[in-house]
Amino acid sequence: MSEFKVNHRDGEGFSVLELKGYLDAHTAPDLETTFQKLLTDKKFNIIVNCKDLTYISSAGLGVFMAYIEDVRKNRGDIKLTNMSPKVYNVFDLLGFPVLYEIYKDEQEAATKFRQQMKKG
């Protein structure tokens, strides 16, 4: 019931993480492992698709906080998409929409990355 899964796929110039299920204090380390691998592989343009993310707690938000600095230092970004209102509400209560780019869907985030890559 409260399972969590991360699916990783690569687009052109960016990576996409699809999150599914419950991102809580017990499952957050799974997402950390995925971010660590992306950084090791020097993949700094990351889209996190939250379409199937049913739940996030502060432990899940902590993972995004832990990696965003390293990602941006390497001229990349973590862009979040497809959030349900319930999940967005938790981000919003903690003031995250000011700190992270949040898009309606994956396509919008991909377009933004492409524009940024053109500008160099």
Binding site: R72, V98, L99
Partner: protein
């Protein structure tokens, strides 16, 4: 409904099974269930994180009336830590200035009503209410 949980993050799945059972019996909305899960997780993990070697299990009590859900979480062996005390989280801080931690209790304080804390004979009791509307 009552249930006890060992002091490990691995128990979270069982905690959510417990809240799921409770919300299904009482036909509680998805929105309220989300807040219940979030508040219970933040308080439970706080107890586990800061008091992993405490004796005994952490006990949860959920009850229901027509207008609200009542929650009580008890740690039978703990130093005092008043979760109802106002925490300051500066939401305008930049990323460089922000550090993880403290956000969970801040969220609980934002989302629940009548958050109360008692500590007596090493027992911590946290209680709160969730209105259904």
């Amino acid at each position: 409904m009552d249930r006890s949980f060992r002091r490990t993050f691995g128990q979270l799945q069982s905690v959510f099974e417990f809240t799921n059972e409770f919300t299904q019996i009482h036909a509680i909305s998805e929105r309220v269930r989300y807040v219940l899960d979030l508040a219970v997780e933040e308080l439970f993990t706080n107890m586990v994180k800061y008091n992993p070697s405490g004796k005994g299990d952490i006990h949860m009590h959920l009850s229901f009336d027509k207008k609200e859900v009542l929650v009580q979480i008890t740690d039978p062996d703990s130093d005092p830590f008043d979760v109802s005390k106002q925490r300051s989280v500066d939401l305008k801080r930049s990323l460089e200035e922000r550090k993880p931690g403290g956000l969970g209790i801040y969220l609980v304080q934002k989302l629940v009503e009548n958050l109360q804390y008692e500590h007596q004979n090493r027992t911590s009791i946290i209680s709160f209410r969730l209105p259904l509307e």
